[in-house]
Subunit: 370 residues, 2 copies
């Protein structure tokens, strides 16, 4: 990999991602000022994740809005590959999806791809990934979704409903397509090769167009889905892409559920959160106090600041004050981290309560095979 380059696929994210370049590479559309204004007009709210470019790219969001303004509804679909515990980064698209669901009054499907993680992780059994799926579901439910409008799909539990749809997709995709899209080789296992059909299936679960808010690393799956949709007489899925949430250790990669210390899990206790951020959060500060006061910190590479920007400080004025204070050297790295720790622990205190309550409500959310 050249030093100025980066890799973004559903199974491998590496390097310092240039999102402008990624838009060109993937052939997606940037969320323009015009599109942003249109979403704000329709929803009546200027969501900070859109305004700040956390969701930065899309495919055919315009069409979804055209249809919506003509009175034609869509539904939402997103998901998670259950390879481990839920971390803070996973919540970003889910919180945004919830906002979309409320503003557009839509149904939503949340897919937990236990089979995919079994196929892609050498050391995980299907029992492991199913267990993680049920744990991850608690975090999703904890965000306050309405079970009447929100269904959780677990691939191995709902294969009876998914497979006939996936089969229509699978017949129209060949091995060359997956080589070109995912970089599969002759050594790729059959589960991985077939799997993209199953990630496509929820796109066609209702007889309406679908909008998918998701991490941009998942875009390749839906490029294939969009290619085959007209061949099976169905509308192409529209997408809204979020950036990769940085790991605590720094930019250039997404936060990974398999990497303990560099990751804040939703079940971490306040002192664990504090320790992880203080020890591991990549800092934009200077090597010593004197230099920091004199030269100032760099909030643009500081992971604590990025977490505030992406998730924990929706107020632009407050965020700007933090940005300016850190940049001027008035705010120290420890002070910046303390702000994040407090906000994160406040969030997690509520989240963890809701997460425990969710244990009794899982059944209300599980998709039922007809």
């Amino acid at each position: 990999m050249p030093s100025d380059d980066f890799v973004v696929t559903p199974w491998h994210v590496e390097g310092d991602i240039d999102y402008e370049k990624l838009i060109k590479r993937f052939g997606t559309g940037k969320i323009s000022a015009q599109l942003l204004a249109r979403i704000t007009r329709i929803t009546g709210e200027d969501h900070f994740m859109l305004r700040r470019g956390v969701f930065f790219s899309h495919r055919e969001m315009d069409r979804i809005l055209d249809d919506y303004e003509k009175g034609n509804k869509f539904f939402l679909y997103t998901g998670r590959g259950p390879s481990g515990r839920t971390h803070i980064g996973h919540l970003v698209p889910w919180v945004f999806a919830k906002w979309l669901q409320e503003k557009f009054d839509t149904n939503m499907y949340f897919q937990l791809t236990d089979d995919e993680k079994f196929f892609s992780k050498h050391n995980l059994t299907l029992e492991d990934t199913k267990k993680f799926a049920l744990e991850n579901a608690l975090d999703f439910i904890a965000l306050g979704f309405d079970p009447k409008k929100t269904k959780i799909i677990i691939n191995t539990s709902n294969i009876q409903a998914l497979y006939p749809i996936a089969a229509q997709v699978a017949k129209k995709i060949n091995f060359s397509n997956t080589k070109a899209t995912f970089g599969f080789t002759n050594e790729t296992n059959l589960g991985m090769i077939f799997y993209t059909s199953l990630q496509s299936a929820p796109c066609f679960i209702e007889d309406k167009p679908v909008l998918i808010p998701l991490g941009v690393d998942q875009d390749p799956h839906f490029r294939l889905t969009r290619d085959i949709a007209p061949k099976i007489g169905r509308p192409k899925p529209a997408l809204l892409h979020n950036i990769m949430i940085p790991a605590l250790e720094g930019p250039g990669g997404k936060m990974s559920a398999s990497d303990g210390d560099g990751t804040v899990f939703t079940t971490d206790a306040p002192d664990v959160v504090k320790k992880k951020i203080n020890r591991h959060a990549f800092s934009g500060g200077r090597p010593d106090l004197e230099q920091h006061r004199r030269l100032g910190g760099n909030p643009d590479i500081d992971v604590s600041f990025q977490y505030l920007r992406i998730f924990f400080e929706p107020d632009d004025d407050k965020l700007k004050t933090i940005y300016d204070d850190y940049k001027s050297g008035e705010m120290l790295s420890g002070e910046l981290k303390a702000i994040l720790i407090e906000k994160m622990n406040n969030f997690l205190a509520t989240h963890q309560k809701n997460r425990e309550k969710a244990r009794d409500r899982v059944d209300e959310f599980l998709f039922e095979n007809k």
Copy 2:
């Protein structure tokens, strides 16, 4: 294809098959006189399909018998790809499977691979293949299986039970393996690539070894299954292979359900059977009566005689008389055909009655997802 060559794969059978060569090519074992004698001793019956080499080859039948004689039971599994109506040739392994089931007192699973035929046939929808599956099931049930010991699996109906097993298999097979085994290319669709995992799944549906009586063209699937079985801690499936049943038009190919005139379907009326055999059954007779009387016919290439040998005349003495009379020229082609027509129509009269009765009994046989 060189003129002395032939092709045998699950999706393509072509040329004049040399079964001795095929045993070497596939690396299977010939059913030896010794193995034949052992089966006869254990079952108390010398089945004509074994004696006449209709079942000619095996994999590890010895092991199944070793285990059986130690008191360890096995189960049976066979199936059909529902690409059309059932023809006479399909019944051969099913009738033999029923005999095995009775002699060894085993459970049996019959898999109807509606998804596979959807993936492999450009012009068939999943609704088409599911419809054929249910029609084919009637023919299977009509043969008199016991529903307490016999379950019919339809892939799209039973994917909930099959997929978790298929996933274990799919993780252990890569695209190279399917290229080598089936000749798949970069243009093969994802459904076809994954499919072999689903044909493997019933091998592991009970916690016992499995014996699979089946057409030798299906052997490649189970070569893969046998390779991966130890990797997932399960016994290798054992196999008993039958020859390809010739099409009416002649040897060199198996009877095909998609080829109307050259095929006797189980639902054909007596006059249709008569017409098909008289018009289309490849004859070993001479061009005119005088030559036939003088030089005799060739029963070894005569399709009507082959049908008697394979299925409709279990009595060796009677078969020998027909063979000798035809070979000497005493019996004419029309007379030989008349024997087959009568036997086939007698069989079909009973079969068609049982087939209609089976309509009310399908539910008793359908495998239920747990």
